[in-house]
């Protein structure tokens, strides 16, 4: 039996990503659950930002942003960055987060976030009241103690301990038990 809930903007599980915009001397942070990868050659992702946001103006102006995946224990700081406006407050200071120089863009990344993507704005698409910003990923950072052999496949997810978010239901969660490996788990079914 299914219950109908009408047209809803609910999708889960998603990251609670901290998006940095602006420059090293005046950076801003906003929390975004509406984010997704789109393409791989080159890698491009999209974020949905409301036009009323301070970050909206900063991304439009500087045409760059960084995506920072926070660890689960920073959920209060993540929550703060989603509620307070950067027009009124310095969220880096309030949330005790540290801007660190990026390699390819002028917008900083967040030191306390173990995984970071530097993005250059490549396309802007208006989708009703939100704007979809498409960013080409120019550089990827991972805390050195959380990766083996300096390869993407060597990322240790338990050490990264990313926050998991459930919009609308409004829950922050930790990741759970590892249950399988992709491109592999289905072998039984495939050989049926």
């Amino acid at each position: 039996m299914k219950t109908k809930l009408g047209p809803q903007d609910i999708l889960f599980p998603v990251p609670a990503a901290l998006i940095v915009s602006g420059t090293m001397d005046k950076p801003n942070i906003v929390t975004v659950a509406w984010i997704g990868m789109i393409s791989c050659v080159p890698p491009v992702l999209g974020i949905g930002i409301h036009k009323s946001r301070h970050s909206y103006k900063l991304i439009k102006k500087f045409r760059e942003f960084s995506v920072n995946i926070p660890p689960a224990d920073k959920y209060k700081e993540v929550d703060y960055c989603g509620i307070i406006s950067g027009r009124d407050r310095n969220k880096f200071k309030d949330a005790n987060l540290t801007p660190v120089k990026s390699g390819k863009i002028k917008t900083p990344i967040i030191k306390e976030c173990p995984f970071n993507l530097e993005c250059k704005l490549v396309k802007t698409l208006e989708v009703s009241e939100h704007t979809l910003f498409l960013g080409e990923i120019l550089e990827t950072h991972i805390d050195s103690d959380k990766v083996k052999n300096k390869t993407p496949q060597g990322i240790n997810i338990d050490k990264v301990n990313p926050l998991v978010y459930f919009p609308t239901i409004r829950q922050y969660r930790k990741i759970g038990k590892r249950i399988g490996k992709s491109f592999n788990a289905c072998l039984e079914l495939k050989d049926k």
Copy 2:
């Protein structure tokens, strides 16, 4: 200390969503980790699909698709639907999944997935080798035993038990412990 990994198409945690395309008599499934909400009035989400995919043609043709969030225990079936092509096989049959009539679109939803979205294609954007399909969400379904008071806020995430995916690192995981409530967890920081 940060390690640079170059431009990578890595973002986590994400859903491993089962996208259904086609019609009740000939539906197809593809697994998609590249999905994100974009807008809320009306609700619109985006999925990134490679042009070589059978689902790409079906979505272009029927201009509809459903998004189905699988439970963690179906990770083998989810993996299968991402590897095998619908050109060669009937994935519903192979993976023991059941197509169920939707309410607003002709493309079915998946019975075994506790959360389902019916989408109408509203925009197609070419982003290098992938295509971003924007779907307006016309209806939302949840298993009746996993929601209280028939409201989105009443969704019981523990009962839904959604699969969590880590692309590139290729891990399927369960959700973990609930650690906080959003729009609320930051109150200590806010009142500082």
